[in-house]
């Protein structure tokens, strides 16, 4: 495919827990395998974001001190450009701590609730008395009808893709979705957004948040392709985007094994 994509890894030195790099590796490799011209940039503390230069933003989770540093930096140097991009359909993926951080409020290890980046209307709170423990363990969830249907339209030839997402969650924060934000998937095993609701992850425009690491994209190649497809559709609105079907034997074997074992 004669197309190009630019991926921006936000704060790679500070937000890098739980194999976050795996998500970047998978996006980069799959773009290459599809014949896309793919550039991965990083944007860290002290560097201003420039509007219109990124197709896919990725942000992972970090430790409290790092997350705090990121919040201030983001509001000063990045928020306007990145929000303009995401409001115009740029893809953004935040995982675990990154998911919490991109919302209005997020939870720190000491139980304090702090202002987040505010690029998606979700908020994360301390667990109430009804939540007994950290949400920790393997997580299996079923994509919403709309997302699953849309995913299938991306490929050049029909591809048999799973309806599930699999990963591992580890969080005490309880995340609630605001108006206009859709869940990403319905929880089948594990918790997801919070211990009482039945959903995992969030979507608003092309902004996605998920509690899944493991890492997320390696074992969910269809979701990786979806992010690539959405980014291409936005960058090349005139073209009819049809992704080549990659032979995901290993990825899908690992996916179904996890569904079987942990659901």
């Amino acid at each position: 495919m004669p197309y190009a994509l630019t991926i921006t890894h936000l704060y790679p030195d500070h937000l890098n827990l739980y194999g976050d790099l795996g998500n970047l590796i998978v996006l980069r490799c799959r773009c290459q395998w599809m014949g896309l011209d793919c550039t991965v940039n990083s944007l860290t503390l002290g560097e201003p974001a420039r509007r219109g230069t990124t197709d896919i933003y990725f942000m992972g989770g970090g430790q409290d001190t790092d997350q705090m540093a990121v919040v201030n930096d983001f509001h000063q140097l990045k928020r306007d450009a990145i929000q303009a991009d995401t409001e115009a359909g740029a893809v953004f993926l935040g995982v675990c701590g990154g998911y919490q951080l991109m919302g209005n409020t997020f939870l720190m290890g000491n139980g304090e609730v702090t202002q987040g980046l505010g690029i998606i209307d979700v908020s994360t709170q301390a667990p109430g008395a009804d939540v007994k423990q950290r949400c920790i363990g393997n997580l299996v969830a079923e994509l919403t009808d709309a997302i699953y249907a849309d995913m299938q339209t991306l490929y050049a030839t029909p591809k048999d893709i799973p309806r599930t997402l699999v990963g591992f969650e580890n969080h005490s924060g309880q995340t609630y979705l605001g108006k206009g934000v859709e869940p990403l998937a319905r929880t089948i095993a594990g918790f997801g957004n919070n211990a009482t609701a039945e959903y995992e992850g969030a979507r608003y425009k092309n902004i996605f948040g998920s509690y899944m690491h493991g890492s997320l994209l390696p074992k969910n190649p269809h979701f990786a392709d979806y992010l690539i497809g959405l980014a291409l559709r936005r960058r090349y609105p005139e073209a009819a985007i049809a992704l080549p079907v990659l032979p995901d034997t290993e990825e899908l074997a690992a996916h179904s094994y996890a569904v079987q074992r942990y659901r």
């Binding site: 739980y18 795996g22 490799c29 430790q63 591992f168 890492s215 390696p218 074997a253």
Partner: protein, 440 residues
């Protein structure tokens, strides 16, 4: 103090009696309970016991505590007339240490040792520092483990610093490349000695944050000309200065593989220097060291005329995984068995496979790779994305028993297969080897 020493007699007698009763009643070796009870009801016992030993060395840090302890004990034991007490690997909380002291003391509560070399869990150090009063504290490194989301490692760093601050007279030996350990004594008055690798090696190490470059005038030892041999022994040279005296050692060797062990060896040699042991004796002692369980040991499987060696290198986090791979880059015709479980002792979240630099295998000459364990398929996906040119599809066989059989069939007699298992995969592998060892 004398009062406490007298009080020790009935306490030690009680502990020994309890140990005996537990053993006779068949409840294991019965070493944990006496330590627990004594620690709980006679908190002064730990101090009263340790204070009898003239020289106390405390070793803490994330990786390499046991190896450093074993190497140092091997080095000190070269000196005639010394008698070294050490706690067992893993028994590194205050209870475990107390149990060991109770076990090693005579009926009168007397400990006849010249040196104690104690491995101490990171968070335990500040709780017992003023009781054991170490003459020397060594910190190997501070790595984040894979379940650490909420600043656990920041807390650990602070705890160790608190521990050191309670012992202003202690000499401190730290990893001088790890930014977290290198800054531990900043603002404290402790004499500090840095052990480090020459920068061309240190940059391979997955430390968190910027590699520390120590000041030119600082005290300590640096390893240069590191050479990892095909039999996985490691040769290196050492230079540096300790208390103003230049140190030059043209050749040292560890029988265990890798950069981590070079740090461990440097730590042992630096401490030996502080204890007044000469370099020749220290280097000789280092060579008597045998690698521990899962840390470079070789198991042999034999059937008829065919014999295959399995060399075990435990992987427990991205740092140890990346470093093992760094070692294996130089092995010709590499045969690899990667055994990944996700039980509690392994870490249930396998995300860390993606923080491990499997890409280093691109510089290796690979004959074949086989993935096994509960998360064999995750491992195969990781390899698919890491290898520029995979040696064909990468087989994933969950059953470790079957993977072992398969690897044996695939290997030629005399081959060495490198096994990189997580902790519970290693236990399972060793058990299987035990059963299959003598099959003829």
């Amino acid at each position: 103090m004398a009062m406490n020493q007298l009080l020790l007699i009935p306490i030690v007698a009680f502990a020994k009696l309890l140990t005996l009763v537990l053993r006779l009643s068949g409840r294991g070796s019965g070493t944990a309970l006496p330590g627990y009870l004594v620690g709980r009801y006679f908190p002064f016992a730990l101090e009263a016991l340790v204070s009898q030993i003239p020289t106390v060395v405390a070793i803490t840090g994330t990786n390499g505590k046991t190896t450093s302890q074993t190497m140092l004990s091997a080095v000190i034991s070269q000196v005639p007339g010394v008698n070294v007490l050490r706690n067992k690997a893993g028994a590194n909380l205050s209870q475990g240490i107390l149990s060991e002291l109770l076990k090693q003391s005579n009926t009168w509560g007397h400990l006849d040792f010249t040196h104690a070399v104690l491995e101490i869990e990171e968070a335990t150090l500040p709780r017992i520092a003023t009781l054991i009063k170490p003459n020397i504290i060594a910190v190997t490194n501070l790595y984040r483990d894979q379940l650490d989301a909420y600043g656990e490692i920041d807390r650990t760093e602070k705890l160790i610093r608190d521990g050191i601050a309670q012992c202003p007279a202690a000499a401190v030996v730290v990893n001088g490349d790890d930014p977290r350990t290198a800054r531990l004594t900043q603002g404290l008055g402790n004499a500090t000695y840095f052990v480090s690798l020459a920068p061309e090696y240190a940059r391979f190490l997955p430390y968190e944050g910027k590699l520390n470059r120590r000041a030119a005038n600082s005290q300590g030892l640096e390893a240069t000309q590191i050479q990892i041999n095909e039999d996985l022994t490691t040769d290196f040279a050492i230079h540096g200065q300790m208390n103003g005296t230049a140190v030059q050692i043209p050749q040292a060797r560890t029988v265990s593989p890798g950069f981590f062990h070079v740090y461990n060896a440097l730590t042992a040699i630096a401490i030996a220097n502080l204890l007044g042991i000469d370099e020749t004796t220290a280097i000789a002692g280092l060579q008597t060291f045998k690698p521990a369980f899962g840390r470079g040991e070789t198991l042999i499987r034999q059937q008829g005329d065919k014999q295959v060696n399995y060399r075990l290198l435990l992987v427990k986090n991205p740092a140890s995984f990346s470093l093992s791979l760094e070692l294996l880059r130089n092995i010709p015709n590499l045969k690899l068995l990667l055994a990944i479980n996700d039980n509690t002792a392994d870490g249930r979240d396998v995300s860390w496979l993606w923080d491990s630099e499997l890409e280093r295998l691109n510089q290796a000459q690979i004959a074949w790779i086989l993935c096994t364990g509960i998360r064999a398929k995750d491992m195969a996906v990781r390899l698919k994305y890491a290898l520029d040119q995979p040696p064909g599809p990468i087989p994933a066989e969950e059953s470790i028993r079957q993977a072992l059989d398969l690897s044996f069939q695939q290997a030629q007699s005399g081959d060495t297969v490198f096994v990189l298992p997580t902790y519970t995969a290693m236990l399972e592998f060793r058990k299987l080897m035990g059963k299959t060892l003598a099959v003829v």
